[in-house]
Amino acid sequence: MIRRLTVLLLAPALVVLLQAAADLPEVGDSTAPAFAHVAPYYLAHAHEETGAANYVTAVLADYRGYDTFGELTVIFTAGLACLLILGVCDKATPGRDGA
């Protein structure tokens, strides 16, 4: 019963999302706002400024290197969290830790 109700709640969400999609620029539109500001600069200057023909690498590792640094920190923290959650380093309770 409750499950039916939750599925029913999805219909207004679909209407809202479709309405939002109708206001977006069409896929492949070169005059969309996403192409107006910083992307043309990257496409025009990335190769001679960073020496990378792959623009994605230039943006990822050079223009937005600080982003990537924070992201690597997130991954590292996730690895440590996995170790801590599963108690791999617990020497006091080897194998079965019952919890």
Binding site: V27, G28, N54, T57
Partner: protein
């Protein structure tokens, strides 16, 4: 013609996602989820994003599936 390829693969992704969520067995759900990841990788290739497609194919279809299989194998031992 090319404009239809993107929506086609998106539709396949929706079908795969529904199949993965409704599969009886958890292991087969994980397998279909790997297929879902692969279709998303193909979609990214069609949409001129080879970097993202490469990452999605390596991460979604290999590493995530292996993680899921390991976790399911460990959690299904004595599930009453």
């Amino acid at each position: 013609m090319i404009d239809l390829l993107g929506p086609l693969f998106l539709l396949l992704m929706v079908v795969c996602a529904l199949a993965a969520l409704n599969a009886k067995d958890l292991l087969s759900a994980v397998t279909i989820f790997g297929a879902f990841s692969f279709f998303s990788a193909v979609y990214f290739v069609v949409q001129d994003a080879p970097d993202v497609a490469f990452t999605e194919a390596a991460v979604g279809a290999v590493i995530t599936t292996v993680f899921f299989v390991c976790a399911i194998q460990r959690t299904s031992e004595d599930d009453q």
